[in-house]
């Protein structure tokens, strides 16, 4: 596990920064809840056109499960989690390889598969810690910000799906980077899936011929089953974890067989 701990150590500053910033954003949105929970807000929302409300998943925000799905765990947080996951996943193999620093480490008595998986495991751990810290912070705000109607179990459910969502993007960027050894391809793959997935979950839902794409979006697998209302969506969780495993396995398989580029 030396590679695992070295990866954690080398990335500790950046990763702690991401975790603190993302938790702060979630906590900030959560503590705004009392100012949303007013009749005037509900009236304002009702005046929006239906299609706009659907595109942005605007619902009755005075109910905490709706407000939290759209704000705390909606917009900014999953996008930033995806960015964090992609940047960490790219660096695991492709970034190190293009910097020329992978040669030295892979010239040590460490198997290719072991090195790659220990690094991926460190990133997966970072995603789990991020979701765990965020979960605890939001649960701690239930009383002070007046959303005790939202149970800790439901908050845990969405944080679990957020962690899996992050792991999916990390595994995608890792997998493409491990397969090709090229940073730019890994970033492009991660960004393309993030952007298309986001569009499929928002604007494409308004276009009848593209509505089917929503079911393929990682954003839908994360939030579409409304875990804040219905708890963990095991089917969606399985899709997130399954694709993460597929990308990780494919990238690792290829990395074990190919040349390391200079």
């Amino acid at each position: 596990m030396r590679v695992f701990w070295k990866t954690v150590r080398d990335n500790r500053r950046g990763w702690i920064g991401w975790i603190v910033a993302l938790t702060a954003i979630a906590a900030m949105y959560a503590s705004f809840y009392p100012s949303i929970n007013k009749p005037a807000m509900a009236d304002a929302l009702n005046s929006f056109p239906q299609s706009l409300k659907e595109a942005f998943h605007l619902e009755d925000y005075t109910r905490p499960e709706n407000y939290f799905a759209a704000s705390v765990f909606g917009l900014l947080v999953p996008i930033l989690v995806a960015v964090f996951a992609i940047s960490a996943g790219v660096r695991a193999i492709a970034g190190d390889e293009e910097a020329g620093t992978l040669d030295l480490i892979q010239a040590q008595p460490v198997r290719r598969i072991s090195l790659a998986l220990q690094r991926l495991l460190a990133i997966v751990t970072a995603m789990a810690v991020l979701a765990g810290v965020m979960c605890l912070a939001v649960i701690a705000l239930r009383g002070p910000a007046g959303f005790t109607a939202l149970s800790p179990g439901r908050l845990f459910a969405i944080c679990l799906q957020l962690a899996l969502f992050g792991m999916l993007f990390a595994a995608l960027a890792y997998g493409v980077g491990a397969w090709t050894g090229r940073r730019v391809l890994a970033i492009a793959a991660g960004a393309a899936v993030a952007v298309l997935g986001y569009l499929a979950n928002t604007f494409f839902t308004q276009i009848h011929s593209l509505k089917w794409t929503e079911r393929l979006s990682p954003f839908d697998w994360y939030l579409g089953g409304e875990p804040l209302k219905h708890g963990v969506q095991w089917g969606h969780a399985g899709l997130l974890a399954g694709f993460a495993l597929l990308f990780a396995a494919a990238g690792t398989w290829r990395y074990n067989r190919r040349d390391i580029t200079v």
Partner: protein, 297 residues
């Protein structure tokens, strides 16, 4: 198994990509344990490709490789017994020298801390500084230390002194000699003929992906041309003797090149009044140039 070769390749072929360039066209190479082997050749001849295959960083298209008796691909644990140094030593610059060396030592199963300290002080290197803040030469020193610190039975060095100044190159030569004295095997590619002459037992010359020749350094030295300058008390005579070529006369001074035995030239000179006789150490470099060029023709 004392006579298992430290390195052995048979019919090693490496093609990059589909229909890409062929870097090795059938390399047969055997390096005996305890020997210091110089691996020479022009840029792009396949030196680094060979070395990266030995380290299992790239995989051969065909042919067999054995390093310390094992296949590098299926036996990564042999790399604990290899010291590897690339000419362009690069490591993550955000860590200190000590952090990196400790990590590498751990991966290889441990190196006594005082061994690292000893080498660092011998090479006048501050291990508390971040690698990114070091000069190119100091970074290369870290590379040298990590290659030698665990006293590996086999050292694989790819143009190891390319970032070092002449003084450090000399220190490096001493380190290689010390390793050879301990019975460690050294496989070293190089462009610096001086260090090759000073360290290697045998040299192999690679051109366009296969070995052109393997020779003992002593045999090469015998065949190498040495420059001879003779000062006479009167106008220099024109002379010819076995092994002498490129004779030029400039007043009282005669310059020529000599290969092999000097006896015939000395006997010839003895018939004249010789004021001074200057003979340079034979330069293998020129011999290598003839090899490089010869093959090109």
């Amino acid at each position: 198994m004392a006579d298992t070769p430290a390195i052995r390749t048979e019919a090693l072929v490496k093609r990059y990509g589909r229909g890409g360039t062929t870097a090795l066209t059938g390399l047969d190479l055997t390096v005996a344990p305890g020997e210091v082997f110089g691996f020479l050749g022009p840029n792009g001849a396949g030196k680094s490709t060979t070395i990266r295959i030995l380290m299992d960083l790239i995989r051969p298209t065909s042919g067999t490789v054995r390093v310390l008796g094992a296949d590098p691909r299926s036996a990564p644990e042999i790399r604990a017994r290899i010291g590897y140094l690339a000419g362009e030593f690069v490591a993550n610059g955000r860590q200190t020298g000590r952090e990196l060396l400790t990590y590498l030592a751990d991966l290889r199963g441990g190196v006594p801390a005082q061994q690292i300290e000893r080498l660092a002080s011998a090479w006048d290197l501050d291990l508390t500084k971040r690698i990114g803040s070091l000069s190119k030469g100091n970074r290369q020193k870290i590379g040298v230390i990590q290659a030698f610190m665990h006293r590996p039975p086999l050292l694989i060095l790819d143009e190891p002194t390319s970032g070092l100044d002449p003084f450090l190159q000399q220190q490096f030569v001493a380190l290689v000699r010390e390793a050879a004295g301990n019975g460690q095997t050294v496989f070293m590619s190089s462009h610096v003929m001086g260090e090759v002459q000073q360290t290697c037992d045998r040299v192999g010359i690679i051109r366009a992906g296969s070995l052109v020749t393997i020779e003992h350094i002593d045999d090469l030295r015998k065949r190498a041309l040495r420059k001879v300058e003779v000062h006479f008390d009167s106008d220099a005579p024109t002379l010819s003797a076995a092994g002498v070529s490129d004779v030029t006369v400039d007043g009282k001074v005669l310059r020529c090149k000599l290969s092999g035995d000097a006896d015939a030239l000395v006997k010839e000179l003895a018939r004249h009044h010789v004021v001074d006789l200057i003979s340079e150490e034979p330069e293998l470099e020129e011999l290598f140039f003839t090899y490089y060029r010869h093959q090109e023709a």
